[in-house]
Symmetry: C2
Subunit: 294 residues, 2 copies
């Protein structure tokens, strides 16, 4: 059965078999060439509206409408950020620690402070520490512990002096500053000191701030010490991040000096680490076993 189409079939009938062959072959060559050029169009490209580069189907992102919607969303988010930043700037204070005070801590002129905090380091550095002036209203607003202390006419409220134990002057100053600015310039040592204060006085925002900072500084060298610290001060985010890092390097763990110290001083922590590792091993092993059986 020879299959040809429409008018062509008529014309073919008038030609010799050889002529027909010749024509068919020429046609076939043409079709093959066309086919090749059309095959190129399968890998047709479109131009990216953002980077202006051509892309192929497998690299397709979004249609124009979705791109425009996403751009609008981005603009809206940026405007919201500007509004929020302006709000933060409005609500932020100059801190009274930026004013000059005499040793009594009472401000002369500006500040209107009505309380001072004193770092009681048990004479760690010798001599009395400089008092840090503040406002009862601010302390009570940021910390439920200070609130209870100041509103209930305790010794601190009557005397106008709050003693804070086991803290350096610098950390206390940074602690009070944070109440006014929601910001702190910290290194790892300071972040740890502030986290302890934030935990003790229930300043959640500062605690989260310190935890985030410490997580950003996590590495294999400080993972065990951070894990122990996080455990001691109920810092969940830091605890999870350091445990995860430890578990990824369990094979190296037992060779470390800190591990031996941890086993001796806080065996319960080591138990927790090992239990977490076992649980992880069981979880990752389970699918393998299942596939091995099937």
């Amino acid at each position: 059965m020879i299959s040809v189409r429409g008018k062509e079939a008529k014309r073919f009938g008038e030609l010799s078999l050889a002529q027909q062959m010749q024509r068919l072959c020429a046609r076939q060559d043409h079709l093959l060439e066309e086919g090749e050029s059309e095959t190129d169009s399968v890998t047709e490209t479109m131009r990216c509206i953002s980077c202006k580069e051509e892309y192929v189907t497998s690299d397709a992102g979004t249609c124009k409408e979705c791109y425009e919607e996403a751009s609008e969303t981005e603009e809206e988010l940026k405007r919201e950020i500007e509004d929020l930043k302006a709000k933060v700037n409005f609500l932020r204070f100059w801190s009274p620690t930026d004013h000059r005070h005499d040793l009594s801590g009472r401000s002369h002129g500006p500040g209107f402070t009505d309380v001072v905090l004193v770092a009681a380091e048990d004479g760690l550095f010798g001599g009395p520490s400089m008092p840090v002036p503040a406002h009862k209203a601010i302390l009570a607003n940021r910390s439920p512990v200070f609130k209870a202390m100041l509103e209930n006419e305790m010794e601190e409220s009557r005397s106008g002096t709050i003693k804070i134990s086991d803290v350096s002057y610098d950390a206390l100053r940074a602690f009070v500053n944070y109440f006014y600015s929601a910001e702190a310039c910290v290194d790892e040592q300071m972040a740890c000191e502030l986290l302890v204060l934030a935990e003790k006085y229930q300043v959640k925002h500062l605690k989260a701030y310190c935890e985030k900072f410490l997580v950003s500084k996590l590495n294999w060298d400080n993972s065990i010490i951070n894990y122990a610290f996080a455990h001691q001060h109920n810092a969940k985010l830091l605890l999870e991040a350091s445990l995860s890092l430890i578990m990824d390097n369990m094979d190296k763990l037992r060779k470390r000096q800190e591990y031996a110290e941890l086993v001796e001083k806080h065996p319960s922590l080591v138990v927790e680490i090992l239990e977490a590792c076992l649980a992880k091993q069981e979880n990752t092993a389970a699918p393998k076993d299942a596939s091995a059986k099937s």
Copy 2:
């Protein structure tokens, strides 16, 4: 010349002419069919990664890489917003106006307020207005006018009472609340009252807040009154928005009662409106003239 390719040429040599014809025709049909389906691929579509719909070249948005970058940016912006919102919540206060006070305004127990503000409405509603308690530190931090007043041991600082003239108790309370929360629940009347206070006591953030609100409520009916109000209180954003609305409807302006009143009471404002309209007409007319000449 019969043109066939590679191995096919060999095989063709072994077939009768009729068989060759038959094969060539079958092959040609196949190529034609392929060609047809490939012709469709010229108007090829790609699938949008966001809405999952197919799109054609003219509706192309972004490539995958740019889409993924944009998604990451959006996630980052959202995280920044969450951080800023947490910061605002931390810096925000419970306002002392939420506590109960006696008529002296001094709080009993909580609040630690050290100053009261009193709406001196010149007996507009008769009787003394309730005092609004506050903290000198907050007032001085949010307003340079209060700062100068309180730090310079003026009458207000000594007495601990600040009289605010020409304001309702509700507006004064909302004004003080804003110092603590950076938020206000306003209607147009309240926004105007707060804008006047914000202008007088140089609370820029509140002034911008009120202007934005009034601009959102602008319409042809209130455009003239808002324009006059914005002019009086140096509210640039509101001034521009209301002037723009007035200029878009100049033909209707002169028929309005407010226009006649404005001409009589504030002719200089009307001069400004008319001058702005003239300038706009000249600007829009210029390109037309230019094209008419060319």
